[in-house]
């Protein structure tokens, strides 16, 4: 019997080397959870944007603070990644880009698109 200390540990997250397609998959899950958790903030933002001209303006002031900026970027990345990775999954369902080589390539494309999109947003708005 293998002693407790030498027993192989398969679920050490630091030792699992995910292929790029796996990275896109887990990022799709994480971004989805972030979007769900941010829902109350987003709905509150919608409420503020409609309630009055003052609260509409306040919304833009809030995104100027450092925490506002970080939160905005997090949500923007989550939104972009979830959208682009989701479109990729829809195409995979239709057997588009399903071959291993192309699946790896379009997985990279998803990561690059969502990150550059977030960077572009940061440059343009923040």
């Amino acid at each position: 019997m293998i002693s407790r200390s030498t027993r192989p540990k398969f679920l050490n997250l630091l030792l699992i080397k995910l292929p790029i397609t796996g990275v896109v998959s887990i990022a799709h899950r994480i971004s989805g959870v972030i979007l769900i958790l941010s829902l109350p903030l987003m709905v509150y933002a919608l409420q503020l944007s409609l309630a009055s001209a003052e609260s509409f303006a306040l919304l833009f002031v809030t995104t100027e603070t450092i925490w506002g900026k970080l939160l905005t970027l997090l949500v923007v990345w989550s939104l972009l990644h979830h959208l682009v990775a989701g479109l990729r999954f829809l195409l995979l369902d239709l057997d588009v880009g399903i071959e291993l080589a192309s699946a790896r390539r379009n997985a990279w494309l998803v990561l690059v698109l969502s990150l550059t999109g977030t960077a572009f947003f940061a440059g343009a708005w923040l």
Partner: protein, 114 residues
């Protein structure tokens, strides 16, 4: 393959809601970019327009269905004990219903009551 038992229905709901949200989101962003120079008056008028109002409510319905199917999978993956699983799923369902009621209030209540 059974429609309800094997999760086929959830699979279909997830893809239809995703397609609607993707289309609505991309077209809305393109439209807003086309309008340009968005101030409060224009934003308010736009969202009050019946067409946009209803399409936006449909977006949130799709979002809540999509969030339920997606998060249910996440919860079932990470929360194993039956009792805790039931509680967490119930709390999450309440969370989504509350969000839905809040959105309906915002979209359909007179401005003074928001």
């Amino acid at each position: 393959m059974s429609w309800r038992g094997g999760g086929v229905r959830s699979w279909v709901v997830q893809r239809i809601s995703a397609t609607y949200m993707a289309l609505f989101f991309i077209l809305s962003i393109a439209f807003l970019a086309g309008v340009g120079g968005l101030d409060y008056a224009r934003w308010y008028t736009l969202l009050s327009a019946p067409v946009f109002n209803v399409l936006l409510l449909m977006f949130f319905i799709a979002l809540l269905l999509h969030a339920w199917v997606g998060m249910r999978d996440v919860i079932l993956d990470y929360v194993a004990p039956d009792g805790i699983r039931f509680v967490v799923l119930s709390l999450f369902a309440l969370y989504l219903v509350a969000i839905g009621v809040w959105v309906i209030r915002i979209l359909f209540m007179p401005l003074s009551l928001i």
